[in-house]
C-alpha cells in the first residue's frame, strides 16, 4: 500500500481532486468542453399518473462511452432508457441524439437499437433471420444483408447457429443473438436493458468482458441499465447512480467508489462503515469529527463547503482499515475494539469489530503470508487505524 504513510505535513488542497487508486484511462470526453455529447437528456420528466418515475434529469453521454445507469429496481433507470428508445414519451423535457431533437420520433425512426432484458428474439425466425431483421426493414439488398449478418455472427462467435431457431439455443447463445441483432444495423447508440440478468454468475462475468470487447471493436456508444453494481463497475466508463427518479452521482467507477458524494452512493457501491458525527473544527484542510462523548476524535480530509458544527458521516471502506493486535505507533484515527466475527475467505479475511460504544465495524485483511505467528481470532482485543486521507466525509 503506497498511501500508508500519512503526510500530514502537506495538507491536501480542498479544491484539488482526490487522488484515487482506481485505474484511469486517457478516455474522458466529458472533461473536454470542445466535445459535443451524442445523447443529451434535457430536464426530462416522466410521470405515470401520480407516480413520478423520472424527476428532471439532465445528462450528457459522449460518443464511444460505455455508460451505466445504476440503481435499485423502480429507480427510473429503465424508464430513462425506454424514453431514449422511443417506447415512452417524456412528460416534459427533450432528448437529443447528435444534436437532433428526437423526442417526438417513433421507435422505428430513431438511430438507436436496444437489447432487451428478455432478449425478445423472434421465436418463428432463425438466428440469421433474427439478426437480419433490422437490415430487411431498411430495404438493404439481400446479398449485402447476408454479408453483414455473417460479419456480425463471426464477431459474436455464432457461426454454427445461423439456421437454428431461438428455442434451440442455450441462454448464453440467445444473449449473443440478441446483442448481434442490436448491433447489426450499426446504430450510433446501443441500449442494453439488464442484458446479462438472466445468466448465471460465472457466465455473466465472461459476458461482461465480451460486451466490453464488442463495444471497443465496434466503436459504438453503449448505454447499459443494471442493478448489479459490480457489473456497472466492470464495464462502464461512467456510472450514473439513480435513486427515486434522480441522479445521485454521475462519475467514473473509480470516483464513485473512492469519492462517493453521499451515504446512498457509498452504501450502494461496495461495503462501507459509516460513523455519524459533528465537525468541531477545520484546520489545514482537515476536519476534526466528534462522534460521541468520551471517544477519540477522527481526523479526515474536509469536503468542500464544509463548515463547523455540521452533521457529517465518515465513510470508511473495510479494506482501508488496518487491523492489528498491537497498538500502532501512528495514533491518529486509532480506535480499540473487540473481534466478534471472523470470515476467512482464503485470499482475504473479514473481521467484524465491536467498538466501545457498541458500533460494529467491518475491516478487511489480505492474507499475504501463508503462516502467521498469531492470527486474529474471536474475542481478540484489536486496534483499528486509518490515515486521514482514506476516510470520506459525507454531508448527506
Amino acid at each position: 500500500m503506497s498511501g500508508a504513510t500519512v503526510q500530514s505535513a502537506t495538507p491536501a488542497q480542498p479544491k484539488s481532486p482526490l487522488r484515487t487508486a482506481a485505474p484511469q484511462s486517457g478516455f474522458a470526453p466529458w472533461k473536454d468542453p470542445s466535445k459535443a455529447p451524442i445523447v443529451r437528456f434535457e430536464n426530462v420528466v416522466k410521470r405515470f399518473g401520480d407516480f413520478v418515475a423520472v424527476k428532471d434529469c439532465t445528462l450528457d453521454i459522449y460518443e464511444r462511452e460505455f455508460f451505466a445507469l445504476l440503481g435499485p429496481s423502480g429507480c427510473g433507470k429503465t424508464t430513462l432508457l425506454r424514453m431514449l428508445a422511443g417506447f415512452e414519451k417524456p412528460t416534459s423535457g427533450r432528448i437529443l441524439v447528435a444534436g437532433q431533437d428526437i423526442t417526438e420520433l417513433a421507435p422505428y425512426e430513431r438511430p438507436v437499437n436496444m437489447m432487451f432484458q428478455s432478449y425478445a428474439l423472434f421465436p418463428h425466425m432463425t438466428v440469421e433471420q433474427n439478426i437480419g431483421f433490422g437490415l430487411r426493414q431498411d430495404g438493404m439488398p439481400k446479398d449485402q444483408i447476408a454479408t453483414r449478418v455473417d460479419e456480425v455472427m463471426a464477431l459474436l462467435e455464432l457461426g454454427r447457429f445461423g439456421k437454428r431457431k431461438p428455442h434451440q439455443l442455450s441462454g448464453g447463445q440467445q444473449q449473443r443473438v440478441a446483442l448481434a441483432r442490436a448491433i447489426a444495423k450499426k446504430p450510433r447508440i446501443v441500449l442494453l436493458d439488464e442484458p446479462l440478468g438472466a445468466l448465471d454468475k460465472r457466465l455473466r462475468q465472461t459476458a461482461q468482458f465480451e460486451l466490453m470487447g464488442i463495444q471497443e471493436r465496434t466503436g459504438t456508444t453503449f448505454i447499459i441499465v443494471t442493478h448489479d453494481q459490480e457489473e456497472a463497475m466492470t464495464v462502464s466508463s461512467r456510472i450514473a447512480v439513480m435513486d427515486h427518479g434522480e441522479f445521485v452521482q454521475i462519475a467514473t467507477p473509480g470516483d464513485i467508489y473512492e469519492a462517493p458524494n453521499s451515504r446512498y452512493v457509498a452504501n450502494f457501491i461496495g461495503d462501507v462503515n459509516l460513523f455519524e458525527g459533528k465537525v468541531v473544527s477545520i484546520s489545514g484542510g482537515f476536519a476534526e469529527i466528534d462522534w460521541g462523548p468520551g471517544l477519540a476524535r477522527f481526523k479526515s480530509v474536509a469536503p468542500e463547503g464544509c463548515t463547523g458544527d455540521q452533521q457529517v458521516w465518515l465513510a470508511l471502506r473495510p479494506e482501508k482499515i488496518h487491523i492489528d493486535l498491537d497498538k500502532p505507533t501512528d495514533t491518529s484515527n486509532t480506535i480499540p475494539g473487540k473481534v466478534v466475527d471472523v470470515g476467512y475467505l482464503g485470499s482475504i479475511s473479514h473481521y467484524h469489530v465491536e467498538l466501545a460504544n457498541g458500533q460494529r465495524v467491518k475491516a478487511l485483511r489480505t492474507n499475504s503470508s501463508r503462516t502467521v505467528d498469531r492470527p486474529i481470532s474471536w474475542e481478540d482485543k484489536v486496534w483499528l487505524q486509518w490515515p486521514a486521507e482514506t476516510g470520506i466525509v459525507l454531508t448527506r
Binding site: G86, Y108, Q117, F122, P123, F133, L199
Partner: protein, 273 residues
C-alpha cells in the same frame, strides 16, 4: 399410475354412454336399409345416395357452408382486432365496457341475440337472406374468436413487438412480420371454432334468414317436424363428422402451439440457470 377401480370405470362408461349413445344410434341408423327410421333393415349406404338426389338438402348444405366460411372469416378478423385492442392498448376510457360488450354474447341466450338481430335488420330495412345470416353469425362467433386470440396474446412477450419496432419496422410491418406469425395457431383455431359454431347454429339463423337462404340445421328441423326420414340421419352423420374434424383440428393446433411455447419458455429458463 392410479390403480384401476371399478367405481371409476363404471362412472366413465356411464358418462360416455349418456353422451354418445344417441349420436351412435343416429350414425348407425343412417346406414339402415329400411324406409322406417325405427326399424332395422340391414346395412346400406342407400340414404347417402338418396341424399345426393335431394336438391333441397344439398342447397341448404351449400348455403350453410358458404355462410360458415364467410362469417367465420369475418368473425376471426374482428375478433383478432378486438383481442389486440384489449390486450395491447393498455387502459383507455371505456375499456371495461368494451370488453364487457365483446364477451356478453358468450352468455347471452341465443334467442335474444337472434331476436335483436331481426329487429335491427327490420329497422334498417335490410332484405333478409344470405348476408344477414352471415352478419348475425359473425357477430356471435366474433366473441369466441376474441377469447381464443386474447388468451394467446396475454402469454406473448410484448417486448418482441417492441424489438421489431426498435429495429425499424413500422407498426403495420411489426404486425405482419412478427405478431401475426406468432399468434397464427390461435387465429386458425379461432376460425375453426367460428366455423363449427356457424355450421350448427339453428336459433340465430332462423331469426336472421329470409327466403332463399335456408341453412342445413333449419332444413333438418323443418323436415323433422314432418317426421324423421333416414336421409336426415345421413346428413346429420356428415355434419357430426365435419364438426368433429373442425374441433379436433382446432384443439390439436392450440395444444401444439402451447406445447411449442412451453418448450421455448423452458429453453429460456434453462439459459437463465
Amino acid at each position: 399410475m392410479r390403480r384401476f377401480s371399478w367405481f371409476n370405470a363404471t362412472s366413465i362408461a356411464l358418462g360416455f354412454a349418456f353422451l354418445y349413445i344417441p349420436i351412435l344410434l343416429l350414425v348407425i341408423y343412417s346406414f339402415n336399409d329400411s324406409k322406417l327410421v325405427t326399424v332395422w333393415g340391414g346395412w346400406s349406404t342407400r340414404w347417402y345416395g338418396e341424399l345426393l338426389q335431394n336438391e333441397g338438402i344439398l342447397n341448404a348444405a351449400w348455403v350453410t357452408l358458404r355462410v360458415a366460411i364467410v362469417s367465420s372469416t369475418l368473425a376471426t378478423i374482428l375478433g383478432t382486432m378486438a383481442a389486440i385492442v384489449l390486450v395491447r392498448m393498455g387502459r383507455f376510457p371505456g375499456r371495461t365496457l368494451f370488453s364487457g360488450l365483446i364477451f356478453a354474447p358468450l352468455v347471452m341466450p341465443e334467442v335474444i341475440t337472434g331476436l335483436s338481430m331481426l329487429l335491427l335488420f327490420v329497422a334498417m330495412n335490410l332484405d333478409r337472406g344470405f348476408w344477414t345470416v352471415v352478419i348475425a353469425h359473425a357477430t356471435f362467433s366474433m366473441c369466441f374468436a376474441a377469447v381464443v386470440v386474447q388468451a394467446r396474446l396475454y402469454d406473448f412477450d410484448k417486448s418482441v413487438e417492441e424489438a421489431a419496432m426498435d429495429l425499424g419496422a413500422t407498426p403495420l410491418d411489426t404486425f405482419r412480420q412478427v405478431t401475426l406469425p406468432i399468434i397464427a395457431p390461435s387465429v386458425i383455431s379461432a376460425w375453426l371454432l367460428s366455423f363449427t359454431l356457424s355450421l350448427d347454429d339453428l336459433v340465430i339463423a332462423s331469426f336472421a334468414t329470409g327466403p332463399g337462404a335456408t341453412t342445413l340445421p333449419m332444413k333438418i328441423y323443418s323436415q323433422v317436424r314432418l317426421g324423421v326420414t333416414p336421409e336426415i340421419n345421413a346428413v346429420s352423420t356428415i355434419m357430426i363428422g365435419l364438426v368433429t374434424i373442425g374441433v379436433l383440428v382446432a384443439s390439436y393446433s392450440t395444444k401444439r402451439a402451447s406445447e411449442r411455447q412451453e418448450r421455448e419458455m423452458k429453453a429460456v429458463d434453462a439459459g437463465a440457470k
